[in-house]
Every structure is written in structure tokens, then in C-alpha cells.
């Protein structure tokens, strides 16, 4: 489990997090959402020990990430939005990296490369941005770490690649070969990961606005897909054929969560959403 407690972090004079507390439970695929600059990448870096908190606690299982204990690093992998590697092939890259990870699975890597339709013997410099991204995703998944942090993994992927991405992540998250991994996907392209992520964490400047499962969200909020705007709605958005209204779920009705509408509802009603979810 990843635990952040009363965490403060700032880049010189710019405060990113002030006294935030958050938990990521094992075996889930978390969606980490937030506007540009709220600190999604910074949060991932704090979790994997690339940045150190100014105050508070950041723990992954029993490890303090900032200590960079090798046994901790064996169980976590962070895939940045833009990975710059030396100009080698994915095969050579993973051969160098895989020896450090006790559960690294080479045949799984080859399968993933095949599934993601990338040639593992082609050099990175000869690949398109999307191919490179898919190769590195295959590398990251084949290390079979308990924690996998993906920063904007769908950026630069074409539509079929996004579908492949969802497929491999879903397979990986339900894989029973090892313990079920905890995956955190930081993105602002919510539609790419809508059917993949659960729970959802929404970050704002200095604070966590929401950390809830789809079940909790649908029990607290009602997503009304109708032809009219609702006056009581926390957020309303025009969609083809009508409107989507996000309302407090006063009558415990079931509805399908729309992540984009949820995000905007949370962003526009920070206090109210907090109140709803705290009750």
C-alpha cells in the first residue's frame, strides 16, 4: 500500500503539495487526474523516490522511497511521459534492465511487443514516438513489479494503439502469475483510460479533491443523461442528443460514471464535492 500522510512538497518557492494525505491500495488501477501543473508527475516522483518530500510521510509498503532501497526499487517502476534512452533496441534495453528485477519475464516481454505490434529488434531512434512509447510500456510491464507508475502513457498513441494499451494493461492487472500489481496512471486524457481505471484520484493545487472508487462515486453522484439541463446539477455538459447532468445522488439511483463530467464537476464544486464524499 502507498501511504502519503501530511505531505508537503515544494520546488524552491513554488508550493506543490501542502499537508496532503492519500492512500493507494494494492491491486487497483488508479487514475490520477488533475489539471496541468497540479503536481501529478511530482506525486509519482515522490512515490518512486525521485523527489523527496519537505515534510510528512511517504511510504510504499514498509519502505521510505527517498531512501532508494534496492529492494524497494525492485518492486516499483516509473515510466515517465517522455523516456530518453540511448539508441539501442528494446531487446538490449530490457536485457540491461531486466537483470535487476527478480520477476522480470522475457517471454512476457516478447509477447507484449508482439501484441503491441512493435519490432523488438528495431532501434529506438528508428521508431516513431508511439512505437517507442509502446516498446517502453512492454519493458515496464515485463518487469512485473508490484507497483507501476505510468505518466501520460497514452500521449502520442494513435487510436488502435490506445485500444491495445487498454487491452495489455487490463490483462496485466488481472494477471494471476504473481501478485496483482498496483498501477497508477496519471493522465488528462480521461477518455483513453475511462474503462480501465478504478478508483479515481483527482488532484488540485495543494490538495486531493477526490479519491474514490466507481462504486463510491455512483453511490454519491448521479449521472443523468437526458434532454434537459438540470438546475440542481453540479455540472452540466452538452452531449450529442442532449445533456449530461452530474447531480448529488439523493435517491440512490444507479448510473454510469462519466469520468470527464465527474472531473469537471469536481473542479467546479470543490467544497461541495468534498462535503458529499465526506458524509
Amino acid at each position: 500500500m502507498i501511504t502519503l500522510k501530511n505531505l508537503d512538497f515544494s520546488y524552491k518557492k513554488t508550493t506543490v503539495f501542502k499537508n496532503i494525505s492519500l492512500e493507494f491500495k494494492e491491486g487497483n488501477v488508479y487514475g490520477l487526474l488533475g489539471e496541468n501543473g497540479v503536481g501529478k508527475t511530482t506525486l509519482l516522483k515522490l512515490i518512486c523516490g525521485l523527489q523527496f518530500p519537505n515534510a510528512g510521510i511517504c511510504k510504499v509498503d514498509d519502505f521510505i522511497p527517498s531512501e532508494r532501497n534496492p529492494y524497494f526499487l525492485q518492486n516499483i517502476f516509473y515510466l515517465p511521459e517522455e523516456v530518453i534512452t540511448e539508441n539501442t533496441t528494446p531487446e538490449n534495453f530490457i536485457n540491461k534492465l531486466g537483470v535487476f528485477y527478480p520477476r522480470y519475464d522475457h517471454s512476457y516481454f516478447l509477447n507484449l511487443m508482439k501484441e503491441l505490434e512493435v519490432d523488438h529488434t528495431k532501434k529506438f531512434d528508428a521508431m516513431s514516438y508511439g512505437q517507442k512509447k509502446k516498446s517502453l510500456l512492454a519493458c515496464a510491464l515485463s518487469l512485473r513489479t508490484d507497483y507501476l507508475l505510468l505518466d501520460e502513457p497514452t500521449n502520442g498513441l494513435d487510436i488502435p494503439s490506445k485500444a491495445l494499451f487498454r487491452k495489455v494493461i487490463l490483462q496485466h492487472s488481472i494477471d494471476d502469475v504473481n501478485t496483482v500489481p498496483t498501477i497508477i496512471i496519471s493522465t488528462h486524457q480521461v477518455k483513453d483510460v475511462e474503462n480501465l481505471i478504478d478508483p479515481i484520484v483527482i488532484l488540485d493545487h495543494d490538495e486531493v479533491l477526490l479519491n474514490a472508487t466507481f462504486e463510491e462515486i455512483s453511490s454519491k453522484l448521479y449521472f443523468d443523461y437526458g434532454s434537459e439541463k438540470s438546475d440542481d446539477a453540479l455540472y452540466t455538459e452538452m452531449i450529442p442528443g442532449g445533456y449530461i447532468n452530474v447531480l448529488p445522488n439523493k435517491f440512490e439511483m444507479e448510473s454510469k460514471v462519466n469520468v470527464e463530467a465527474l472531473f469537471n464537476a469536481v473542479r467546479n464544486n470543490k467544497k461541495k464535492i468534498k462535503e458529499i464524499f465526506e458524509n
Partner: protein
Amino acid sequence: MNKTFNINRFGNVVRRDGMSYFSNYGWTLVVLWAIPVILWFLTYISMETFDTGVISNRATTISTLMWLSLMIVPSRLYKNYNDSRKGVILAMTPASSLEKFLSMILYCVVVTPIIYSIGALFIDTVLALKPGTNPYDGFIFSDIFSKNYESYREMLSLGDEELNSTIYDYMLSKNHFVYKMLQILGFSSVFMFTNMLFKKRKLSKTIGILTILGIIFSICVVRYIINLEYNFNANWTDEEITNYVKGVVNYAYNFIFYSSLITASVFPYFTYYKIKKQTY
């Protein structure tokens, strides 16, 4: 569970760094190996005019280039260690900071001078073997591994041959293996640390700083030499001159020894600390 040092993990780091060694540093080595060849060629075409092929020059050239290889290697092999984007994979590698640091020491302080020196000596030997007209007369192995400070002899003109020889032997006795190793470690450590400290133009910034320090140091040395000449008495006996010069030599060697010792202790620690605390 040893989180600080594990021989298998260390082996993996060494293996990983080794796999990148020639791709990152190979061309630099080739250029550094090519310099003695170019010098040989220049000597060859100008040998009728100048006597430039003496062993001491060749040994000094190789020795200088070896030091140059030590200067360059950290910024070629480990240039990305403090890069906020490129360094992420290196920082996340499941090995301790000590293991990563020791591997850096291994390649920068041990492997590079050995590889460069062996290669350069081999090239020099091949050049010396050229039949017919050849500016290189004889091999430099004996010179490198024993009395490699022939140039000192040329510098010494303190009196008769016997006095020169006494001082020269005294200098050689000081120039022992540990002393040289300490110098290499101290010298490399400075470049390893600045490689971790500076994000861009690592080598030029380091050379710039060292040049400024060198100028300040030279001014101090010149003042010291002026003072020495003032104390020097023309009526001294050979024994008095020998003791006086030995004292000066001893002072110089002790200065270099202790400054190397301090650099070789402090800068590796700073480098290790930077690896441990580097954020991305």
C-alpha cells in the same frame, strides 16, 4: 537482506555500465589513441629537422593522454546521471547508491587508465617496430614501468652528474605506486564530482575552475621559488645543496601527496552523496 552492498547487484551494475562503455566512450578512446599515431607521423616527416622521438617524450605524451582520458570519462559515461529526464532510469535501477558509485569508480579510475595505457603502449610498440626509417628507437615499457621520469633528469642542472643523480633517485623513491594511485583517484574524483554537479558543459566548466585555481596556485609557487632563490647560498657544499633541494622536493611531494589524499577522500564522498541525494 543487504540493502547497502550485494555482490550480485554490484556485478549487474558493473555489467550494465560495461555494456555502455564502448558505445559511450569508444570514439573518445579512438581519438586519444590516434594522437600518438599522429605525433609519430609528424615526427616521421620532420625527423631530419628535429629530434623529437626520444623515449621520454613518448612516455610523457602517453601519460598526458592517460590523464586526459581520466578527465573525459565521467562526462561521457555518466553524463545523464544528474539529468532530470535522462537520469530517471539510472536512478530507478534497483541497486544501492554505493553500488552505483563503486561501479563509477571502477570505470573512471581503474578500467579507463588501464585500457587507455595498454592500447597506447601497444600502438607505440607497433610504431616502434616499423622497419626502415623510424623516428622511434626502442620501446618505452621500461621507461613507463620504472624510470619514467627521464624528463626530470633533463630539468635538473644543479651541479655535477652525481648530484643530479642523487636528487633524481630521491624523486623516484618518492614517486611510488601508492602515490601515483592516490593522484589518479584524487584527479578523477574531481571530475566525477563535477560531472554530478554540473548539468551542462561539465568538462569545460571543470577545466575553467581548475584553470583559475591553477593560476592562483602558480602565483603562490612563483612567490615561493623567488623566496627559495633568495635563501640559496652560492657557497654551499654539494651536500648542503643536496639537503636543501631534497627538502624542497620533499615539501613539493608532501604537498601533492596530502592534497591528493584530501581530494581522493573528500570528492568521492561528495560524488556518492550526490548520487544518493540527486532528485529528478
